[in-house]
Point group: C2
Chain length 467, copies 2
C-alpha cells in the first residue's frame, strides 16, 4: 500500500478533536483532553462525547459532525468495536489525521482483532487518513505545544532538536520523562503502536524534512518489513543521523506480538541491517538519547582517538576505562603537544591521557586560563579525534565551565567535545545550559559521556563509508 500521506496534519495540527472524551478524571480519555489543555495547545481543542457538555472548561460536542470548525486531527479513545464507525465519521468530515489510543486490535492475536484492524486500515486508506496507532500513546510536538497523548506530564517536555519515534507508548513515555528531568530538547515524539498505516519508514521519511529535527532516535521492537525502515533511514543518514535501539536478545516472540502485533525477528538481522543503512545503534534507551543529543549538537568524529581531560582524576580514569570498553582508543598526543604539556605541567609524574588538569596543571588554586589553553592545544593535535572534558560539579569551577562555553561559542574547537558535569539539585543547570547552547553536550557521569563520544565516532565512520 502506498499513499501520499499528509503527516503534517498528524504532527502539526492546528485543531484537535478528542473523540470519546470522558468527564471523569479517572479515565484515560479525560487525560487526553487534560494533556492538550495543560500542554498549552490553546482553544482549538474539541472534545466529542454524547454524555458531557463540558470538560475542563471546554465545550463538548455530541458528534464530530457537530463541530463547527475545521479539524486537522482526531484523538480516538472509544471502545475498539466503535473505532471503525468513528473513523467513517472522521472521513465524512474530512479529517485527515487520527491518533487511535484504543487497544484491542491486531495485538490481541485473534481473528477478530486482526479483522478490526484490517477494517480501520481500509477505511483510513480510502479516506486518506493517516493513523498513529491503534494501541498508541500518541504524539507530542513541543514546538507546537501539542501533547496529543494521555500523559499530561509531557507538558514539561522542552522544545529541541531530537525526534523520538518508538514502537511502545510506555517506552516513549519514560524516554520523554527522562528528557524532561535532564532538560533534553525534543522536536517531535510519537509511539507508533500497531502501525495501521503509518510505520517507521513513513515517520523517518517525514522527519528527514522536518526543520526542527536534527537527529532521529528510534526504539523498535520488530516490524513486518525491516527493509522499508532501513531504506528510509539510509536515504537520510548522511544529512540527519538516525540512532536506533532494539531490545537485545531473547524477547519472547509472543510478548512482542501481543504488544503491538509485530514480529520481533532476529536481533542480529536487525543489527546487520542497521549497520548497512548507516544507522547508529544503542544498547539501551539512555544511550539512545545520549547519542542522539551528541549528534544533534556536535559534528561526527573523524576517528576513534579520544583525549580525556579532567578536573578530578578519578572520573578521568573512569572515562579512560570506559573508552577502552567502548572500543575507543586513548589518543597518544604528538611529540609537540607532549612537549608543550611537559612545559606547562607542575607535576613531574603526570599522564598524557587522561590529563588531570587540576592535579597536574594548577600552579596555585584554580588556573582556568591555563586549562583552556591545554584544552585547545590538545584538541588541535592531529593525533586526537575527539575530546572528553570531565568537570564534575564544584561551584568554584563554574567560571571555567563558562569560559569553555564562551571559547566554543566564539571560535569553536578543532574537534568534537563532550563534557561530563553533574548537577546536584540543578546547581549546575545554568552553566550546563550555556555549554549546550554553544553546542557542547553535557552528561552527568563519565560512562555516559564516553558512550556519547562513541556515538560521534560511529557516526563519523558512517559518513566516511557512505559519502
Amino acid at each position: 500500500m502506498s499513499m501520499a500521506r499528509d503527516l503534517a496534519r498528524l504532527f502539526q495540527p492546528n485543531s484537535v478533536a478528542v473523540i470519546g472524551a470522558s468527564s471523569s478524571s479517572a479515565k484515560i480519555s479525560y487525560c487526553c483532553v487534560e494533556s492538550l489543555v495543560e500542554g498549552g495547545f490553546g482553544d482549538r481543542i474539541y472534545p466529542v462525547s454524547p454524555h458531557s457538555s463540558e470538560i475542563l472548561g471546554l465545550r463538548v460536542y455530541p458528534s464530530v459532525a457537530s463541530i463547527p470548525y475545521d479539524v486537522d486531527m482526531a484523538i480516538v479513545a472509544v471502545a475498539a468495536g466503535l473505532v471503525p464507525s468513528v473513523l467513517e465519521e472522521c472521513a465524512r468530515e474530512g479529517i485527515k489525521g487520527a491518533v487511535i489510543i484504543t487497544s484491542g486490535f491486531k495485538e490481541l492475536g485473534t481473528e477478530w482483532g486482526a479483522k478490526l484492524q484490517g477494517d480501520i486500515v481500509d477505511i483510513a486508506n480510502r479516506a486518506r487518513i493517516s493513523i498513529i496507532g491503534p494501541n498508541t500513546m500518541g504524539v507530542v510536538n513541543p514546538h507546537q505545544h501539542l501533547n496529543a497523548t494521555f500523559l499530561p506530564s509531557f507538558k514539561d517536555v522542552t522544545p529541541g532538536h531530537i525526534a523520538v519515534i518508538t514502537q511502545s507508548g510506555g517506552v516513549c513515555s519514560f524516554m520523554l520523562h527522562s528528557a524532561i528531568n535532564e532538560n533534553v530538547g525534543i522536536s517531535l515524539a510519537a509511539s507508533l503502536g500497531n502501525r495501521a498505516n503509518v510505520d517507521f519508514a513513513d515517520a523517518i521519511e517525514y522527519l528527514g524534512d522536518h526543520p526542527q529535527t536534527r537527529t532521529i532516535a528510534v526504539h523498535i521492537e520488530g516490524v513486518d518489513n525491516p527493509r522499508l525502515v532501513v531504506d528510509s533511514a539510509s536515504r537520510l543518514v548522511c544529512r540527519k543521523p538516525v540512532v536506533a535501539y532494539k531490545p537485545w536478545g531473547a524477547i519472547p516472540a509472543k510478548a512482542a506480538f501481543s504488544h503491538t502485533g509485530s514480529l520481533a525477528g532476529r536481533h542480529e538481522a536487525y543489527e546487520a541491517a542497521f549497520r548497512q543503512a548507516g544507522v547508529v545503534t544503542a544498547q539501551d534507551t539512555t544511550e539512545l538519547m545520549d547519542v542522539a543529543k551528541a549528534l544533534a549538537l556536535q559534528p561526527p568524529a573523524q576517528g576513534n582517538r579520544v583525549a580525556v581531560l579532567s578536573l578530578q582524576a578519578g572520573p578521568g580514569m573512569i572515562a579512560a576505562s570506559a573508552c577502552h570498553r567502548c572500543g575507543l582508543a586513548l589518543a597518544d598526543p604528538s611529540r609537540q603537544v607532549k612537549d608543550s604539556l611537559t612545559t606547562l605541567a607542575v607535576s613531574p609524574s603526570f599522564s598524557y591521557n587522561p590529563i588531570d588538569l587540576a592535579g597536574a596543571f594548577t600552579r596555585s588554586g584554580a588556573d582556568h586560563s591555563l586549562w583552556l589553553e591545554i584544552l585547545e592545544l590538545v584538541l588541535s593535535d592531529e593525533c586526537v579525534d575527539a575530546g572528553l572534558l570531565s568537570a564534575l560539579y564544584h561551584r568554584l569551577d563554574r567560571p571555567f565551565i563558562e569560559s569553555v562555553a564562551s571559547l566554543v561559542g566564539q571560535r569553536g574547537l578543532a574537534k568534537p567535545l563532550v563534557v561530563c558535569r553533574d548537577s546536584p539539585l540543578g546547581a549546575a543547570r545554568a552553566e550546563i545550559a550555556m555549554l549546550e547552547e554553544n553546542g557542547v553536550p553535557v552528561y552527568p557521569t563519565p560512562d555516559r559521556a564516553v558512550r556519547a563520544v562513541a556515538g560521534l565516532v560511529r557516526y563519523g565512520s558512517v559518513i566516511e563509508r557512505m559519502k
Copy 2:
C-alpha cells in the same frame, strides 16, 4: 603497620578544627568551613588561621593550641610542606583523627612526595592519629550532619543505609550528587585518597559494625595489598553485603599512580579476588549504587528466575531483554500459576513472562486489586525467584503503587521485588518514597531495575556459597 585505630573520631566526631581555613570564598579551605556550617554540624567548628579572625560568623583561632575545647578531628588544608608540622601540633593537642585535603604527596611520583607522605605516616602512627588522605575529598556522615569535605553541595545528602568508600574524591563527589538527585540515603561516605594509614580494609572493618550501614559500596582504583581488602570484606559479606566497582580494562598505570599513588593492577586479578571474597561487583558507578540500594532494602534472591510484570508492555519487554543480557532467566511459571493467569486474563494471546498487567489483565480501566492478586500469585510461585514490576509514571496508577507499598508493608511478599518507576520533575516522589520505606527499591529505567535484581541474585549465590 598495625594499630588499633579509633575511626569513630574520624567518622563521628563531636568537634572539628579546620586548619588552614581561608576567609576567601574562592579557596578550597574556605569551602571546608562552608561545608561544615551549611551541613548543619553546629557550633563545634573551629577554623584555624593566623590570617583571619572570623569566617562565616565563626571565631577563628590562630593555632590549634589556642582552641579552648576538645577537638576530635582536624581537617587539614595547608600547603603540603606544612602538613608534618600541623600534624605534630595535632599530636600535641591530642587530636586523634585528621582529614588531609592537601595533595602533593606520594601521588607526585617523586622522592620528595614519597618522603613527605612517609613523614606524616610516622607522625600519625606515633601519635595514634587516623588519617583520611592525604589528597582526599574528606568524609560525609549525614546521620551526624557532618560534611567534612570541600563540597558544600553535600549538605543535601540524605541520611540512609549505604556506605560509600571511594579511592577518588571526584568519584565520591559525583556518586553523592547522584544520590542526592535520586534521593538515595547514605550512612557514611569517604574518599580515601593516598591512604596514609587508613586503607579500604580499615574502612570496611569499621563499617562492619557501623549500625547505620546496611551495605557497603566501594570504588577502588588499585591498592598495594588487595589481599587485605578482600580479607576484610570476606569476614563480613554474609551479614553486610559489599559491592565493588573497579574501573575496567586499560587504565594507564601512570594515571592511577599519579592520582592516588596506587598500583592499578590487573583487572582480572581483582575480579577473581572479589568473587572469592563474596564481593558483588558492578560495571559502573550507577550499577554500584543501584545494587547497593537493592541489597540495603531486599533479601537476596535464591535463584536467577525473574518474573517481569509491567503496566506498559514495551518497558516490560526491555526488562525481559535486559534479564537475558544480565544472565538472568525469565521464570517459566508453574502449571498451576499459568492456569490461574489464563483464568484471569482478558487477552487470549498473552505472555506468561513478561506479564503485561494493563494489557492482558484489565477488564475495564485500571484494575488494581486484580493486578495485586497477580503480583502475589506470581511471586509465591516456586518457579519464581524474584520479581520486577515495571510501572512507569502515570498519575492514574498512583493508587496501585501505593497499594503495592501497603501490601509489602503489611504482609510482605514471598520473593524479593524491585520496581521500575520514573518520576518526571519529582511527580512520583511520594509513592516512590512509600515503596522504599516499605523496603522495595525503585529505579527509573527497566535496565537499571534489572541490574539491581541481578545484584540480588549474585548476592544470593554468595550467601549460598559462603554459608
